[in-house]
Symmetry: C2
Subunit: 168 residues, 2 copies
Amino acid sequence: MDTRWLDDDERAAWLRLMAVVELLPGALDTQLRRDSGLSHFEYFVLAMLSEAPDRTLRMTQLGRLTNATLTRLSHVSRRLDERGLIERFQCPEDGRATNARLTEKGWQTVVQAAPGHVDRVRATVLDALTPEQVGQLRAIAEAVLPRLDPERRLAVLYDESAPADVAS
Amino acid sequence: MDTRWLDDDERAAWLRLMAVVELLPGALDTQLRRDSGLSHFEYFVLAMLSEAPDRTLRMTQLGRLTNATLTRLSHVSRRLDERGLIERFQCPEDGRATNARLTEKGWQTVVQAAPGHVDRVRATVLDALTPEQVGQLRAIAEAVLPRLDPERRLAVLYDESAPADVAS
DNA sequence: ACGCTTTAGTTGACGCTACAACCAAGTCAT
DNA sequence: ATGACTTGGTTGTAGCGTCAACTAAAGCGT
């Protein structure tokens, strides 16, 4: 089967999307590290916990939400534990499972980090767009996500009709 | 100064954009590793070289185009050199500079990798969008990029009126 | 010509992530 | 209830990226 190459419009859109995908994580990471001593991934982990019932989640569920392998999450959560931002304990209902719960200190950390993060999100992305474009962006991402995430691992974060255990 | 929090539309758009930014690199990386034994970053380095005059670029310029620190690029280019995909040599005009040139083997590798990569790009993103959305995506990215890239490091890749030494 | 500064790049140590191997708790068939 | 399988998670190793320190060439003022 022959490859359908990109036409000029597609190529232009693709290159620009790639540039955004390349630059955005670094921009967020830099701000959070500087202002709160957290990587963007760590912040995201804490943020997911902060919105969960009882600020507690199973490792597996937390891994799904953060798009992390269990290995990665295990290492990260150990470090967050050592820093006193979360605590881990064996799940009473299922002895195999580990629960992660945000500590008060972790909660304070998220609360303190959030405004700067939101400001950065505005400054780099949202405030550059018209309201129409914000809607378009949402529609575009919604069209793409089923292909990027066929197993719907992150569906909770972007699909209103998802199981809705936790919404970010 | 008080933080302006995100309204529902902004929040929805943002969450979906984050999911895309989180998932897309992995999707591209997986395909390229499986089919060509290259990370996405390595592929991108080779692709930049493949479009440069004489398939040669200075390390600094290559670093700009790929959004990489010189350190990172130094490590990666050493590995690509060891694999015979590029070669490095001191620049004749400026003894401090190192030039990286794509070898014939490197060229063959890119040529062989490109179709599968483009297929994946289509399958995961472009084919999910209408032509109007492709145009919107381009406009949205163009609005955001000046804020993400104030030094215009990647401008060559997304701005038609950029110095245009190399276009991807 | 001689230092001083700047620019270009490399190297080494450390931190984070992935992969593989592993362990422990639950499940299920007989 | 016991052996096989599955599920949930952790740990060790190796690879990649970052930061800091370093080398070498070029520019520059005197």
